[in-house]
């Protein structure tokens, strides 16, 4: 089998490996780099389970070739948490948004990209952004709630850090107030 040398920047680390030329980013992440947090549900681009971020944008790693991703920043679920959990991870855990947990990494990364663009995403924007991620356990509702809760906490932290007042108040915050 023809192998090529692949250099990737994954979760801020420079990684290098040899992999069969036709292996997808999903396969290289899991099999060559041992990053088992990225899951697969179909390997045909249908379920969103294998979502990772490339330069901050969600992509389906089962449809991407690693050579396309060289010199770009790849984030997997392993790159979300430092010593403490990412607010999205905290919220998913607290609200029961992860039942079996298999689709969870894909949802977390899709949501992280959404909130980076739209820190006060509406319920509809959340649903649209995650429409390519299937979940069979939750009925999506706890996932929506967790993304909204994380967004609220992230905005609140940002306000605390920057000392500025918020521009808009979302429905979630009003409901919780």
């Amino acid at each position: 089998m023809d192998k090529i040398r692949i250099q990737l920047r994954v979760n801020g680390e420079d990684r290098e490996c040899l992999a069969p030329v036709h292996h997808t980013l999903l396969e290289v992440l899991r099999e060559e780099l041992g990053l088992m947090g990225t899951k697969h549900g179909c390997e045909l681009g249908e379920c969103g389970t294998c979502t990772v971020l490339v330069d901050g944008r969600p992509i389906l790693s089962c449809l991407a070739l690693p050579v396309e991703c060289e010199d770009r920043a790849i984030t997997t679920v392993e790159g979300m948490a430092g010593v403490t959990l990412h607010p999205l991870q905290e919220a998913f855990a607290a609200l029961g948004a992860a039942q079996c947990g298999y689709c969870t990494p894909g949802f977390l990364l899709t949501a992280a990209a959404l909130l980076a663009d739209k820190p006060a995403a509406t319920r509809l924007e959340i649903a649209e952004a995650t429409a390519g991620n299937l979940c069979r356990c939750t009925g999506y509702l706890k996932i929506f709630e967790a993304i909204e809760l994380a967004a609220e906490r992230m905005r609140s932290r940002k306000r605390t850090e920057t000392g500025t007042e918020t521009e808009t108040e979302t429905g979630t915050e009003k409901a919780r107030a």
Binding site: M1, P20, G34, M36, G37, T38, K39, H40, G41, C42, E43, L44, E46, C47, T49, T76, V77, E78, M80, A81, L85, Q89, E90, F92, A93, A94, L95, G96, A98, Q99, C100, G101, Y102, C103, T104, P105, L108, I126, A127, E128, T130, A131, G132, N133, L134, C135, R136, C137, T138, G139, Y140, L141, K142, I143, F144
Partner: protein, 799 residues
């Protein structure tokens, strides 16, 4: 005080975070395909391209010679049949002489990597003699000449039953009104996000370990021992956390046996991970069922008799099918009063992937039929369908015509709360503009009352040990498939011992380490493991609190324990840490360990076949669904769902709501779009793109209401919640479509095409096939005080 009435609970009832939540949100949960072992080889299975064929010859020599191939395997090397039920041991690890559906496994290869194994499959030569295929219930009944199996009463009939409970014809004679309807429920599948995977490794001691994404490690253990002809003591099955199950991982599977044998042949660990297409072939999902229902009623709506017929498309193998067949007739009687009841059912083999248990196992189909039929006969009689359901709900303690024992029942409260919240009465018939609202009630078992194979042992066992640092480890054979069963064990033990759930480690689903629990099926786990855990924990609580009482010089009855501390209830300043009390207890009694077990109460039902339906207690649900139907496109939009579920008691309301919402979602998918359809023997849609399931954009808001009936059978009064809430959603949606646009779609899924056809007067109602049901068994009513002498397993499920 009976535990269901306890008011002093500190852990139970709290919306706590799951014990495995952090692992799941960081991607650290180790699913079966995440396992990597040194020297691990990879297996692939060759599957039949024909729906029905005789195998004349298989030649694996070219595959075996392919570079990188470590071993090949064919059916003759594993000739012993297996199957989940003792009564239908009709599967082989790899086909022996016949293939019975497209996807039936024929041969296997282990190689140094997956691609080499896949390439080698193309080098296996199979000589097939293609046979006529039987692809529907009607074909299976008509084609006695084409036999898929050589067992069963005749033709392609796998199992047929007919029971009359209480002379149903006398009831029809008393009726003022009789109504008949026919319904069809198309098959659909579980579609767990995780594809099945298994790893097997035979160690240097000859002992075999199999890791698998299975809901039922105990049954996999039994199948491995049987087929491999190995002592069970030399086989260890470890159930990995399942990436979704829904019933689809509760049979022993071909690929589990194959990797085990390939590991023995290669002396290396062997992994197999199924493709998404193969997951569709494993299936064991919802049976397609044709149903006919006839009900006799008095003018005031009281039922005098009900006659229910079902015909199930079982697919190519038995699986749980005999149980599924009985389930299509079992629970019609436990919701509304049915004084006389007759059930006739037949399950046929077809050349399609085998059907089995999916969430609600055999009961969503008849529930759909019954709840639509109720709305129809209420219209006939000018009765309000909500009022009818409230007036006819069975009373607590009822023993039904088919001898099912109802204990607590929250159906009426579920209906009342859903009616109040949804505004059903004000909305029904009045929304206009293509909008409508529908209602349904339902019931489900909290665990099957009898085991799958005959035995007199407990259904669930729990073992607990306490270490000197106050840590508590709980061992139980149950399997967490995402429903939170590991967390429930931790909460129950934390409650009983007065420690924090975080101080508890849970070890589950490992046949070497954990006492048997029968598995994550039939909504049995919270009730059965919960009761077993309470029994084990109370033994240790007595030792630890006894030691604390001696140290504090306080009567033990006065002690309280919570959150890692034990104290005098009369003087909370006098106390000590749980860990200190554990040390005192170990000094006094030796190593601290205890076991508990649970066996369901004996059923009062005595007829052969009554093993399916009894349960320690039934859960109840009610749902109202509001829809908007577009008359131009036939597209149904679900605007809102209100659902109430009688969960007995919420061990953790956060997890219960999660199960309710997930059930609503899955019910909506089945009602609107999910279906398995075949053309010329081929599965038309074995992919997640073509098999339509609801996305985030289809999911409506759901108002979930928990009703607590505090059932004496359940741990702290708890009943099931993982399956029951799916049941009312489907008929409530069908009833809502009727309210919206005035057409009755008597089948699911209710697709836009069917709605449009009905609006145009072109809809063809389902027809019941002509079935020669067997001679009816007359089941006499139980004597007033029935002696509880049911056998320990249902004779109908015995071989």
């Amino acid at each position: 005080m009976p535990e269901q009435d306890r008011k002093d609970l500190t852990v139970v009832g709290q919306p706590l975070v799951k014990v495995d939540a952090a692992a799941k949100v960081t991607g650290q949960t180790v699913f079966a395909d995440d396992l990597v072992l040194p020297r691990m080889a990879f297996a692939r299975l060759l599957r039949s391209p024909h729906p029905h064929a005789r195998i004349r010859a298989i030649d694996v020599s070219r595959a075996a010679a392919h570079p990188g191939v470590l071993a090949t395997l064919v059916g003759s090397e594993l000739p012993i049949p297996f199957g989940i039920l003792p009564v239908s041991q009709d599967e082989h690890a790899l086909a022996l002489d016949k293939v019975r559906f497209v996807g039936d496994p024929v041969a296997a290869v282990a190689a140094i990597d997956e691609e080499t194994a896949e390439a080698a499959l193309a080098l296996i030569d199979v000589d097939y003699e293609v046979l006529p295929a039987v692809m529907s219930i009607d074909e299976a009944l008509a084609r006695e000449d084409v036999r898929i199996h050589d067992y069963g009463p005749h033709g392609n009939v796998h199992k047929e039953v007919s029971f009359d409970f209480g002379q149903v014809e006398e009831g029809f004679a008393e009726a003022d009104h009789v109504r008949e309807d026919t319904f069809f429920f198309e098959g659909n599948t579980h579609l767990p996000l995780e594809q099945h995977a298994a790893v097997a490794s035979q160690g240097p001691d000859g002992k075999l370990t199999v890791w698998s994404s299975t809901q039922t490690p105990h049954y996999v253990h039994r199948a491995l021992a049987k087929v491999l002809e190995m002592p069970p003591a030399h086989i260890r099955v470890i159930a990995c956390p399942n990436g979704g199950g829904f019933g689809g991982k509760s049979d022993p599977f071909s690929h589990e046996l194959v990797v085990a044998k390939l590991s023995m042949k290669t002396g290396r660990p062997v992994k197999v991970t199924l493709t998404r297409e193969e997951v569709f072939y494993c299936h064991r999902g919802r049976h397609p069922v044709k149903m006919w229902i006839r009900t006799g009623l008095k003018k005031d709506g009281r039922i005098t008799a009900m006659h229910f017929r079902t015909a199930l498309d079982g697919g190519a193998y038995g699986s749980y099918g005999v149980a599924s067949l009985y389930y299509t007739g079992a629970l019609q009687t436990v919701t509304y009063e049915v004084p006389r009841y007759k059930f006739e059912g037949v399950r046929v083999f077809t050349n399609k992937p085998p059907c089995g248990p999916k969430r609600g196992h055999g009961t969503p189909q008849p529930r759909f039929a019954l709840e639509c039929h109720i709305d129809k006969f209420c219209a006939d009689l000018g009765l309000d369908p909500a009022r009818w359901r409230l007036d006819n709900a069975v009373a607590p303690g009822t023993i039904t015509a088919n001898q099912m024992q109802v204990r607590t029942i929250g159906l009426r409260e579920c209906l009342e709360r859903v009616l109040a919240k949804s505004g059903y009465d004000a909305k029904r018939g009045r929304l206009g503009g293509g909008r409508g609202i529908g209602l349904a009630g339902s019931s489900y078992i909290s665990g099957a009352g009898l085991p799958i194979y005959w035995n007199a042992m407990p259904h669930s066992g729990v073992q607990i040990k306490i270490d000197r640092g106050g840590g508590v480890t709980v061992f139980c054979g149950s399997t967490d498939i995402g429903q939170g069963s590991d967390s429930v064990l931790a909460y129950v033990v934390a409650e009983e011992l007065g420690v924090a759930p975080i101080d508890i480690r849970v070890v589950t689903g490992d046949t070497d380490l954990t006492p048997v629990d029968l598995g994550s099926y039939s909504s049995r786990v919270t009730l059965m493991t919960g009761n077993a855990a309470i029994e084990a924990a109370r033994k240790l609580r007595a030792l630890v609190l006894g030691a604390a009482a001696r140290k504090l010089e306080v009567p033990v009855e006065r002690l309280r324990a919570a959150d890692g501390r034990i104290w005098d209830g009369a003087d909370s300043s006098r106390g000590l840490p749980f860990a200190d009390a554990a040390v005192l207890a170990e000094a006094a009694h030796g190593t601290l360990g205890a076991v508990g077990s649970y066996t369901p109460p004996r059923s009062v039902a005595k007829w052969k076949g009554a093993g399916v339906g009894p349960t320690p207690t039934y859960s109840y649900s009610a749902a109202a669904v509001e829809v908007s139907v577009d008359r131009e496109t036939g597209i149904i939009r679900v605007d809102k769902v209100w659902i109430a579920h009688d969960v007995g008691r919420s061990i953790n309301p956060l997890l219960v709501i999660g199960q309710v919402e997930g059930s609503v979602y899955m019910g909506l998918g089945e009602a609107l779009m999910e279906e398995q359809v075949f053309r010329k023997g081929l599965h038309k849609i074995p992919s997640m793109l073509e098999y339509k399931s609801p996305t985030t954009l289809e999911m409506p808001p759901v108002d979930s209401i928990l009703v607590e009936t505090l059932d004496p059978q359940g741990p702290y009064g708890a009943k099931e919640c993982g399956q029951g809430p799916l049941l009312p959603v489907i008929p409530a949606l069908a009833n809502a479509v009727y309210d919206a646009v005035g057409v009755r779609i008597d089948e699911v899924p209710i697709t836009p095409e069917k709605v449009l056809a009905a609006l145009d007067g072109r809809y063809r109602r389902p027809q019941m096939p002509t079935v020669a049901y067997p001679e009816t068994v007359q089941v006499a009513p139980l004597p007033a005080a029935a002696p509880a002498t049911a056998p320990a397993a249902d004779p109908a499920l015995r071989p």
